[in-house]
């Protein structure tokens, strides 16, 4: 069906899919580089690992222009407030990666000055283990964030006005849907059987 449509010069899809595709492939990270992980984060942007392949090479140091915060390094109590302030200034939708053991859980720095995990004050989406994680792991976390974004609903939810929402099964774009075109039907979209 779709190939016919394509030959006729148009293509049908969902707005959600288009929006999520655009969002997930143009993430602008806000590198909250604190400590050693920041060095690996630089390596992740550098030629060998080249995060530009995933559309995220544009590091934005201004919170207004960023939508993905990578907390790289241990978070001290003194710094936590500054991080939260930067996070509050970022525009929605936004995501957080806790990079490394220190940002995820305090790690080896089990001490009076360090917050035992930045999830104490930030809604973390993806945790990366490692001390510090290798750049490959950071790329993997970025792909996880992209996966998460692809399964988000923003427009579809608004379309079902007046109906009580049931939780909708995640629908993936066609490329990764195992059961083909049938995956995208209004029934499944709005949760009506």
């Amino acid at each position: 069906m779709e190939s016919d449509a394509f030959n006729q010069g148009y293509l049908t899809t969902r707005v959600d899919v288009v929006v999520n595709w655009a969002r997930s492939n143009s993430l602008m990270p806000m590198p909250m580089g604190l400590a050693c992980c920041a060095i690996e984060m630089m390596a992740f942007a550098s030629p060998k690992y080249d995060v530009a392949r995933f559309g995220s090479e544009a590091m934005r140091f201004s919170p207004r222009q960023a939508d993905l915060m990578i907390v790289a390094g241990w978070v001290s109590y003194k710094m936590a407030h500054a991080i939260r302030r930067v996070w509050d200034q970022m525009a929605d939708p936004k995501w957080v990666i806790a990079m490394g053991a220190c940002a995820s859980s305090g790690g080896m720095h089990r001490c009076y000055g360090v917050v035992q995990g930045c999830d104490n004050f930030l809604p973390v989406d993806v945790y990366i283990p490692g001390c510090p994680p290798r750049p490959e792991a950071v790329i993997h976390a970025l792909m996880d964030i992209q996966e998460k974004i692809r399964n988000e609903y923003s427009i579809a939810r608004d379309g079902a006005v007046g109906e009580k929402h049931r939780s909708i099964e995640p629908v993936r774009p066609k490329i990764i849907t195992p059961d083909g075109d049938a995956a995208i039907t209004p029934d499944r979209l709005y949760g009506q059987k």
Binding site: I39, E40, M42, S46, P47
Partner: protein
């Protein structure tokens, strides 16, 4: 005219109100020599372009190389006063050390100056070895030297990429990271980790430098000098770069000593103080190298000193590779260093030694105290250790070079202009993880 009464710190800032108030109070009470230099009639005339402004930069700012916070008072474009606030990465390493055995603390040293972790490991191990009078085999000392010099190159490469990026040249960052990746491959091969190597052990090393490692290092030593020459061709006579850094942040030799600057910042000011010469550790008294020194004391001089240091490091590595002897890599005394893994897996005594060393570790005599310093890429990195006879230090004091350099930076910034601030921070090369301990 004070700004402090106009701000209700409790309301404007929900966090650290007393801390922020103290910073701004300090900014006002600080003596500024610029106010004295300014002629009195000029101070009275009202110039619309000449306005005072208090600006807060950091702790999250791309050009502060971490989480440095600067509160500055500007007079037009000129920085009149500057108050630096550090401690945003403070985790209490000195406190942590008191509850760890000497060997357990070593991974923490990796995370101090995370641009050159190997140097920190060596510094810690040498301090403990001095405290407990542990002898290190020859081969281990040479390998430590090779790796410390590679760490120096790695640190200077990052400094170069980031400092030039601060000045506007992004491409240098990409070039230097190519070679940093090569260095990381070497560390990965030799120590098993890219960044946090923890390769040194008290009394030696954990693993020997194998054939692949030596091959990688030889390749690097062969290719790297050509790249430095290329970069120097581009930068040393580059009008944009020279104009940007020449005459910026000048420190006279007397000032540099007075502020306690170390490393390339001290040598850029004409003081040839290098711990490798001053108190030769490892085998530095047996190799031939020069200590680059410049007399100008400005940002450009510091740039030249670091570039020369990279070349000298290559020279040292070449000599080390030539003279690398065969032999043990760890002290044979099981009370003072770990037994080898072969021994641990196949002999009961080795296993017991391993267990006891992990549990108790090396026990220096009660009341012993030593200070051992090395020349890390940033400057004099020293550990002062005091023992109470147990396997854990009674007091471990870290003398971090970045801390001393930042103190000098605070004074250096005063009198500079706002636009040069980033360059000055960049060429002083602070690492906040080390300064904040």
């Amino acid at each position: 005219m004070s700004i402090i009464p106009q701000i209700d710190f409790g309301k404007t800032l929900s966090y650290w109100p007393r801390h922020n108030e103290a910073i701004y109070r300090r900014l006002e009470s600080k003596h500024a020599w610029l106010e004295e230099v300014r002629p009195p009639d000029e101070a009275e005339s009202v110039d619309p372009l000449d306005n005072q402004m208090v600006l807060n930069m950091g702790p999250q700012h791309p050009a502060t190389h971490g989480v440095l916070r600067c509160a500055i008072q500007l007079d037009g474009e000129t920085i009149e006063k500057c108050v630096l606030d550090i401690g945003y990465l403070h985790r209490g390493l000195e406190k942590l050390a008191e509850s760890k055995t000497y060997q357990e603390f070593m991974p923490y040293t990796d995370r101090m100056d995370y641009l050159a972790p190997y140097s920190n490991n060596v510094a810690w191990c040498l301090a403990v070895e001095k405290l407990a009078a542990v002898e290190v085999p020859e081969r281990a000392q040479w390998i430590r030297m090779i790796m410390s010099e590679l760490a120096r190159i790695s640190s200077h490469l990052l400094w170069m990429g980031v400092a030039l990026m601060d000045a506007g040249a992004v491409s240098v960052f990409l070039w230097t990271f190519q070679f940093r990746e090569d260095l990381y491959s070497i560390f990965d091969e030799v120590a098993g980790a890219r960044l946090t190597v923890s390769h040194s052990r008290i009394g030696g090393l954990v693993t020997d430098l194998g054939g692949t490692g030596i091959k990688l290092i030889e390749d690097f030593v062969e290719h790297f000098p050509a790249a430095v020459v290329e970069w120097e061709k581009l930068l040393n006579r580059n009008r944009i770069w020279i104009d940007r850094v020449e005459g910026i942040g000048v420190l006279t030799p007397e000032e540099a000593i007075e502020f306690g600057m170390t490393g390339a910042n001290l040598r850029g000011s004409g003081v040839g103080h290098d711990i490798r010469r001053f108190e030769p550790y490892l085998k530095y008294d047996e190799v031939d190298f020069t200590i680059p020194t410049r007399t100008e004391g400005d940002a450009l001089a510091r740039y030249f000193v670091r570039m020369e240091e990279m070349k000298e490091a290559i020279k040292i590595i070449r000599q080390c590779l030539d003279r690398l002897p065969e032999g043990e890599i760890r002290s044979d005394d099981a009370k003072r260093s770990y037994p080898g893994k072969d021994e641990v897996y196949y002999s009961m005594e080795g296993l017991i030694h391993d267990f006891m060393y992990t549990d108790t570790g090396v026990c220096p005599p009660k009341g012993a105290e030593v200070y051992h310093a090395i020349e890390s890429p940033k400057g004099e990195l020293g550990f002062y250790l005091q023992s109470d006879g147990t396997g854990r230090p009674c007091r471990a004091r870290i003398n971090s070079p970045s801390f001393s350099n930042l103190q000098g930076l605070e004074n250096m910034l005063e009198g500079g202009t706002m636009g040069d601030m980033v360059v000055m921070i960049g060429t002083v090369d602070p690492v906040l993880g080390e300064a904040d301990k």
